[in-house]
């Protein structure tokens, strides 16, 4: 096998590429963002249909903890989705900067857990265990992880149409976004607003989905 290709190979390649030219529609990030927003709405409706809206919804909307939960999860979804859409443009290299954000968030997690444990009623180990309600927690993690899968599939389709130049980070961002979208869509169905519960179980779900996406997606989105 010769190391140097025969002369003219690149010329023939260019001929072939020109012959293969067909009109294409330039990508628009607005369209991708709209598609993700629609997926979020569909996910919320599906959660309401499948699990039902929580019974105490009228009371929950008057409480700060509910809105804190909703805002945090929407923020996760928004940051992740923005990162994914931006990463599809080869000209943009913003993902490395997001790593600092991710590190900061990871460092804040234990702090948030500690704050959550101190805040709210009930001290002592039994009270904490009761607040964590691990049966409900596992169910929440399972729901978020399962409903993140269709969102992740949609994101993979979007990503394959784009040109991500950092597959590992795009994959992690897609996992983060899909978990955020799935969790935010679940906000009106899950009856738990306790910051301790939310930080631990939703945080765990986001971590699991992000990690799985980081491991599995890169081979699907290379080009």
């Amino acid at each position: 096998m010769p190391i140097d290709p025969p002369r003219g190979e690149t010329d023939r390649l260019i001929d072939g590429l020109v012959a293969d030219l067909a009109p294409v529609e330039p990508r628009r990030w607005q369209r991708e963002a709209a598609l993700i927003a629609i997926a979020f709405i569909a996910e919320s409706l599906a959660a309401a249909a499948m699990v039902g809206v929580r019974a105490d919804m009228p009371i929950a909307v008057t409480e700060a903890a509910f809105w804190w939960k909703a805002a945090s999860l929407v923020l996760v979804a928004a940051i992740g989705s923005t990162a994914v859409v931006m990463s599809l443009d080869p000209a943009i290299t913003i993902l490395p900067r997001l790593r600092r954000l991710a590190t900061a968030a990871a460092l804040l997690m234990p702090l948030a857990l500690a704050a959550g444990a101190l805040m709210g009623g009930g001290a002592g180990i039994p009270a904490l265990v009761a607040r964590l309600d691990w049966h409900g927690g596992i169910a929440c993690v399972r729901h978020v992880a399962a409903t993140a899968v269709p969102i992740l599939a949609l994101l993979v389709l979007l990503i394959r149409r784009g040109a991500p130049t950092d597959p590992a980070r795009t994959a992690a961002a897609a996992g983060f976004a899909s978990a955020g979208i799935s969790a935010a869509g679940f906000v009106a169905s899950c009856p738990h607003d306790d910051p301790l519960y939310v930080t631990l179980w939703y945080g765990l779900a986001v971590l699991i989905v992000t990690g799985a996406a980081r491991l599995l997606l890169p081979r699907l989105i290379r080009w």
């Binding site: 190391i3 020109v18 009109p23 294409v24 330039p26 080869p90 943009i92 490395p96 040109a163």
Partner: protein, 205 residues
């Protein structure tokens, strides 16, 4: 000739400070606008502007990769990148500059090449000897040389001897006084690290 104006400024000094490499790849403004216009026409399916675009991108890419890869890899990298530009042409948004889009794709394919060099290093070794003229490669792969400076000395030496100077593993082993299997391992580790270094550079941008 727009391609003649196209510049690929690479700061050689950047590597004097390995922790904060500054890598600026620019396309001269006049060719950037012309290339954006040609690509927009190509997106509408016009063959003549597309052919002109590819013909002008080719020397830019040859230049880009000749600073970053051993000479035997340049043609393949240029072809890979042309194919990538073709299959991802819809991701160029006509109202935005063309240069960063092009540079992003070229860099992605560069990392790809370094990766595959590292993966297939063992299979390619016996043939490296046959590539002949390496005088050029040594002086032109400036960025590659800069990156080698960031590796551990033994790794850099192994890569320099085998990939750039074109020695065989046996010769490199004789030159460095190490066993062949050790040179092979060092060479392999070095190439893998090289690919990761290039990827990590974006962090410092």
């Amino acid at each position: 000739m727009f391609a003649a104006i196209a510049q690929d400024h690479v700061s050689g000094l950047a590597f004097a400070r390995p922790r904060t490499p500054v890598r600026v790849v620019t396309v001269a403004t006049s060719s950037d606008e012309a290339w954006a216009g040609l690509m927009a026409a190509a997106q509408r399916g016009e063959a003549a502007p597309y052919r002109r675009l590819l013909a002008e991108l080719r020397p830019w890419l040859v230049r880009y990769f000749s600073r970053r890869l051993p000479s035997a890899q340049i043609d393949d990298a240029v072809q890979d990148t042309l194919i990538a530009i073709h299959s991802k042409r819809h991701t160029f948004e006509p109202e935005r500059p063309f240069g960063p889009w092009l540079a992003g794709i070229a860099r992605y394919k560069w990392i790809d090449r370094l990766r595959s060099l590292s993966r297939h290093a063992a299979d390619e070794l016996p043939e490296t000897l046959a590539t002949g003229d390496h005088e050029n490669a040594v002086t032109s792969a400036i960025v590659l040389q800069g990156l080698l400076a960031m590796l551990k000395p033994a790794q850099a030496e192994a890569i320099r001897l085998v990939k750039i100077d074109g020695l065989s593993i046996e010769e490199a082993a004789a030159r460095t006084g190490q066993s062949e299997s050790l040179v092979k391992v060092i060479f392999h580790l070095g190439l893998g690290r090289l690919a990761r270094l290039v990827e990590a550079q974006a962090d410092a941008d």
